[in-house]
Symmetry: D2
C-alpha cells in the first residue's frame, strides 16, 4: 500500500470572543482553539448563530435585472462570442449580488439569457442538471431533445429533464433570445453532476422545423396518455407547454372568479403549475414552474416560502416588493425572491401594455427539493 | 411606495483568457465583460468547466480524524467551556480541509463530537435540521426527546427527526462523549432552517433514567406497529436502535454466508440499514445510516456513490483507501468519503481488538437527498 | 345481555366421491362430512379445483350485444318507464349469460344503456360506486356533477368518481342514449357501498347548457393544473374528456408510426388511456378506461389480461375473437372479455363506415383493482 | 374464420311488480321485460335496492365457531383423510351460513383449520392467493417457504405472500392444528388466480428443524434491513412474527397506559398491526392482520368498518357482540364480523384463564383491499 498519509494545512481560523454566551476568554481557551484549528475542528458554540438561525436568513439578495440591459449585452455577445464545443452555449447567467460573484441567481438556481444568431448551432450534450427554456419573445429556434425538434415561441415553456441529449439551432433570419433555468447551483452543492458531450453536428432530419414536436404529438392532450410510452419518470415526457394552453387556463380561472366560482388563488390572481403527466408531480425533479396572471389594479398578499424563486415578467407592468426592496417591472424583467422573504406584486397597467392590462409572470423555484425533503413551508400574510 | 430601488456593488469579476474554447481576446470582449460585471452577469462559457464537470469533482477532501485527538480536545473543552443557552451544546465539528475552514465534514453533512460532564444539562431546543447520535463508547447520558428520556449506550444509534424538542443530561459520575450527525450544511444551502429555544430546565420526570425509552416500548418490535400511533411520517418514531439488535443482524448475515446463503453484500461484508418503521424509507428525510461488519482479512471492493459519507470505526482495526488517500484506522476514528471517490476498507485484526477480529463501521450519508431527486448513482469496481 | 345465541340451518352440502385425489369412500367419511355440514365447514380437498384453478377460469362468458337491439328496447322503455326517485335512472344493464341472470356485464363491472327523453330529469344522488358515461351517438344531455353542468356529445368520456352528487337532464328535443359503466358488482362483493339521495329538483342555474363544464375550464389543459384546486385524489377532477382530444391523440400515434417513430402499441393499433391529472393513475380508483383505433385491415395480436373488460364499438366495423367466440361488430355494439381469455380484433372496413375505415373501440376494465393488489398479469401472443 | 356465433339460453328472469317506484304494470311492460330477458338485459329500476344499498348490507352472517368442535372434526379427518397431491392440504374451511354453503368465512376471506399428523408432509405448491398461518396451540410443524424451514409455535403469525413456493411437514410425535387465512374468495371474484404444483418431496435440508428461519435471521430486527435483500415488495419478506414480540408489544402498551401515556387505542385495549418491513404497509397485499389485548373487565366501544374480519381467541374468555348476535368465547373460538356491522368485545376472566385475565384476540381482515381502492370507512360508537 504505497498511498501516503499526507498532512494538510488547516484552513480553520477561530477567534475567541468576550460575549455572554461564549466561554470565558482565557489563555487556556485560546490554546484550545489553536488545538481545534490544528485538528481541523470548529466548535458549535462559535458558529451556531450563523448555521442555525431562528428562520431562514438567505445568503442571496432580492434583485431585479432589466430585460433591456440583458438583451443589449446578449446582442453584443452575438457579435463577439461564437457558439461551439467547449463553451457549449451563448448563455449569460444572473449573478446574485449576495452570492460573491458566482453565476447563481439564487443559492440553488441558475437563470440565464441564451442567444442564438441566425444559422447558429449549439452543439449536442447532456447532463444530470435539470433544465428548461422559457420564451418571452421571438421565435425561429428549435431545441432538439433526443433527436426530436421542438419549436420555441413566445410564451412556450420547454422543460428538459436531466440526461436528455439536446442541441439548439436557429432556423430564422433573426437572432433569438430566451431564458434558461437550471439547478446548476444545487447540483454543485450536492455533487451529483455528470456531463457528456454529444455529436457536433445534428442529422439533417433533426434540423427539420415542424410546428409541433413528436413529444407534443404523443403527450399534449388533457388527461390522455399514449399507452406505448406510459411509464413513471421523475422528469416530464412533454417537452413543450404551449402558450395557447397556458393563456387559456389563466383566462378561464379569472372568468370563473367573475362568475362567482373558485379558480384563482386569491382575488384577481390566477395561477397554474406545469406538471409531469406521468407522475402529476412537478415538471422536473428539482424545479417547480408556475405562471401567474394578476389583473390590473390587483396587489397580491405578501407570501413567504422556504426556498428561492426567479420570476420573469411575460407581459404587463407593475411594482414588485420583496422584503425591503421594491422595483417597477415590465416585459422581460427578471427578479429573484430569496428564501422566506415575503413577495408581493402590484399590477399597474401602462399605456404600452396589452389590452387586458394584466401582469403576466413566469416563476420557477426549487420547491420540489424542499417539499420532498420535508422542508417546505409557506405563509401568506394579510395584505 | 417608499422602498427605494437601491444600487449594489457588483461582486462579479471576469477575466477574458486566451484559450481554444474561449472567444477571441479583443478590447471589445473586455468591454463586454465589464458590462457583464456591472450588470451582475456571468457567462457560461467562462464557468462551465467548474460548474458542470464530466463527473462529480468534490469540493471536499478525503480525510481521517483520530478519535484520541478528538477526545483529548473534547475533554479539555469539558474543563473550559460550560454548556448552556446560546452555545447550546458542547459539540465540536469536523471541518473538512477542502471546505475553507467551515464546520462541515462534507458539503452536506455535519459531524461532531459532543461531550457532557457529570451533571451537565444541554438545554432544550428544536430545529428543522435532522440529527442523530451514535455512541462509540460510554454510557450515562439520556437524550430527552419530546419529553421521553432515551438511554444512550455503546453501539446505540439514536435518530431525532427535525422539529422534535430535545435536551440531554448526564446522569453518570463520568463524562460521556459521542458523535452527532446532522444535515446542517445541506439546510444551510437550501435555506429552509427554523430553530426554536425550549425550556431551560427539564421537568423532574424527564430526568428519569429508564432502561428503555417510551419510543422503544412502542416501536422496537420487528414488523409490529402500535395502531394508536401509526401514521406516515418522514422521520422515524423509533428513537433508539439498540446495539444488541444491530450486532445480531450483522452476526446472522455472516453466519448465513458461511452456511451458503445470501445475506452479505459481498463476501465477508455484512451491511444493515437503519429504516423508519412507518415508511420503510431512510431513518431521516435527508440522512441514510448504515452499519458495516467486515471480517478479518477481507478487503471490500472499491465503491463510488454520488453524495458524501462520514464513517466512524466502532470496533477493530484496518486500512481505509479513499481515492488517492489511505489511512490506518482503529476504534473511534472518523473519516469522510467525498462524492464519487471510491472507498475500500481492509480489515486488519490487531492484538488489541475484540475476539472476532472484524472491523465494525458506522456510516452516514446524504443518499436520501440524491435518491429522492433522481441524482443517486453508484458503481462497484472490481477489487 | 339479552341477545340470544341463535342456531342456523346449515346450507353446507358435501358429497364424498370416489376419485384418485379424494379420501377413501367409507361410512366414516360420510359421517365426517355430515359433521362438517352441521358445523358449517367445507374441506379444501373437495373444493380446491374450483377455488384455486391453475389459471383464471372466468365465471363470465364472452358475449356481444347488438347496439340496435339495445337501442330498440331502450326506446321502448322511454315510452313505458318514467324516470324518477326510487328507480333513479332509466338504465338497462348487460347481464352476462354466465352470471346467472344478474345485472353484471362481468364479475366486477356494470355496463348499461341509459336513455333520457326530451325534458327528462334523472334525480340527484351520490354513491361510493365509481361511474362514467361514454357517448356513442347523440347530444343534448347535460350531466350535472356537484352542481357543474357537463355537456355530453358523441365520443366524450365522462368519469364521475364515487360520492360526487350527480343528476342528468335532457335539454334537447330528441331522446338521447349513452352507456354507463360502474363498479357495482365489485363493490357488491367487497361490501363497501354507500348511497345517498339528493335533491329532487336542480337549481335553475344547474340547468344551464354551457359548451364546457367548469371542470374542463379548470383542468382540460395538457400538463397544467390550477394551483387553487390541486390536491391528490383517487378520482379525477376532470369530468369530461372530449372526443376532439381523443381523436387527435389517436391520429397522431398512427401518423408517427407512418413516419417511422414509436407511438402505437403494435402496427396499426393506436391506444390511449384516460388518466387522472392529479395522480397520473387511472381515471377512477377501480376502473381503467382506454380507447383503441385499429387501421383497416389490421388484426391485433391476441392478448390476455387478468380481470375483465367491456368494449363498445365507436366507429367502423370488424370481427372480434374472444377465446372460442367470434362475432362481427359495428357501431355501438358491446362485447365483454372475461379474465385471461385472449381477445383479438380485426378491422374490416365496410362501405357504410367513415372515411378512414379504421375501427374505433372504447374499452373499460377493472385493471386498477388487480394492479393495486398485485394481481395484474398480461400476455400478448404471436398473432 | 370458422368460429361460430353461438346462441345462449338467457338466465335472466324479470318480474314486473306493482310498487310506487316501479313503472305501471301493463301488458306492454311485461312484453318489454320479456325482450330484456331475451336480450340478456336487466333494468336498474328493478335491482337498485339490492345492488346499491344506503349502507353495506352484508351477504354474510355474524357467526361463531367453537374451537373444540373444529378440533374434534380435524382430528377425525387426521384418521380418515390422507394429505397428498390433488387435495393438497388437510384444511377445513369455515362456511359462513349466509353464503350458501361455499367455503367462505366472509365474502372475501377464507379461514380454515389445518391439521398435520406426525410425519405428514403437505406437498409443495404456489399460488397467487395470499396466505398466512396463525398458531393458537401446539408446535412441531415447519412450513417450508422458498426452501426456508420456518418453525410454527403457539402465538406465531406466519404470512406467506402470493406465488411463494411452500410445503409443510410435521416433525413432531403429535398432530398439530392451526388456522390458515387466505384471500381465496376475493381472488375468486376478481379472477386473477394462478396455481402451480411444486415438488412432491422436499430436499433433506429443507426438512431441517431450526429454531429460527433464515427469513427471521435476515429481517426480524426492529427497523434494521439487510441491504443485500432490500427492495420494495407488496408482500412481506419476514415469514414469522414470533409470539414473544407480539406479547411484549401488547404488554408495553398497557403499561404505558397505566403510566399515563398514550399507547392503547382505547382504555384497556392494546392493539398491534403486523406490517411489511419493506413497505410499512400491510403484511399482505389483500389482508390486514392485527392482535388485540383487552384487559379483564374492559368492554370495547362498538366499531364498524367496511369490509369483513375473522377473529380467533388466542387466550382468555369473554363475550362478543356483533350486531344482533352475541356469544361467549374462549380459547381457539373463531368468529366473523361482516361489513359495517358493529363489533364489541367484553373481557370476562374465568377461573381457567391465564394469570393476566386479559382477552387476547387475533384478527385478520380485507381492509387493504378497501383502503387501496378508496372504499375504507370506519366509525367507533359511544359504548
Amino acid at each position: 500500500m504505497s498511498k501516503a498519509e499526507t498532512t494538510v494545512t488547516s484552513p480553520v481560523r477561530l477567534a475567541a470572543e468576550e460575549q455572554a454566551d461564549q466561554p470565558p476568554l482565557t489563555p487556556e481557551l485560546e490554546e484550545l482553539y489553536r488545538g481545534f484549528e490544528k485538528a481541523l475542528l470548529v466548535p458549535l458554540w462559535t458558529s451556531i448563530g450563523d448555521l442555525m438561525p431562528g428562520q431562514p436568513r438567505s445568503q442571496a439578495t432580492a434583485h431585479r435585472w432589466r430585460w433591456s440591459e440583458l438583451l443589449e449585452l446578449a446582442d453584443r455577445s452575438g457579435d463577439l462570442v461564437p457558439v461551439g464545443r467547449g463553451g457549449e452555449r451563448r448563455a449569460i447567467a444572473l449573478a446574485n449580488p449576495g452570492l460573491g460573484g458566482r453565476p447563481c441567481a439564487t443559492p440553488t438556481l441558475w437563470a440565464a439569457i441564451q442567444y442564438l444568431m441566425p444559422g447558429d448551432d449549439a452543439p449536442e450534450h447532456r447532463h444530470t442538471q435539470n433544465a428548461f427554456r422559457f420564451v418571452v419573445e421571438g421565435e425561429g429556434v428549435w431545441t432538439v431533445v433526443e433527436q426530436d425538434p421542438v419549436p420555441m415561441r413566445r410564451g412556450d415553456f420547454l422543460p428538459q429533464p436531466g440526461m436528455h441529449w439536446h442541441a439548439h439551432h436557429n432556423a430564422a433570419a433573426k437572432p433569438m433570445a430566451w431564458i434558461d433555468g437550471l439547478d446548476i447551483p444545487f447540483q454543485y452543492q450536492v455533487e451529483g453532476q455528470f456531463f457528456d458531450f454529444g455529436r457536433d453536428k445534428l442529422y439533417e432530419e433533426e434540423r427539420a422545423t415542424p410546428q409541433r414536436s413528436r413529444s407534443e404529438r404523443l403527450w399534449a392532450y388533457p388527461g390522455l396518455v399514449p399507452v406505448s410510452q406510459f411509464q413513471p419518470k421523475q422528469g416530464t415526457p412533454l417537452l413543450r407547454y404551449r402558450w395557447e394552453d397556458t393563456d387559456a387556463a389563466l383566462t378561464a380561472q379569472l372568468e370563473l372568479e367573475r362568475e362567482g366560482y373558485t379558480g384563482t388563488v386569491e382575488p384577481g390572481h390566477a395561477l397554474v403549475r406545469y406538471t409531469n403527466p406521468v407522475s402529476s408531480g412537478d415538471v422536473l425533479p428539482t424545479i417547480r414552474a408556475q405562471f401567474h396572471r394578476i389583473t390590473a389594479g390587483t396587489e397580491t398578499a405578501p407570501r413567504r416560502e422556504t426556498g428561492s424563486s426567479v420570476y420573469q415578467v411575460f407581459d404587463g407592468s407593475g411594482r414588485v416588493t420583496v422584503g425591503a426592496s421594491s422595483w417597477s417591472v415590465s416585459r422581460g424583467d427578471l427578479f429573484v425572491v430569496p428564501s422566506w422573504v415575503p413577495v408581493s406584486v402590484r399590477s399597474e397597467a401602462s399605456s404600452s401594455d396589452s389590452d387586458s392590462g394584466a401582469l403576466d409572470l413566469f416563476q420557477f423555484s426549487d420547491a420540489p427539493v424542499l417539499a420532498k425533503l420535508n422542508l417546505f413551508r409557506s405563509r401568506t400574510e394579510e395584505s
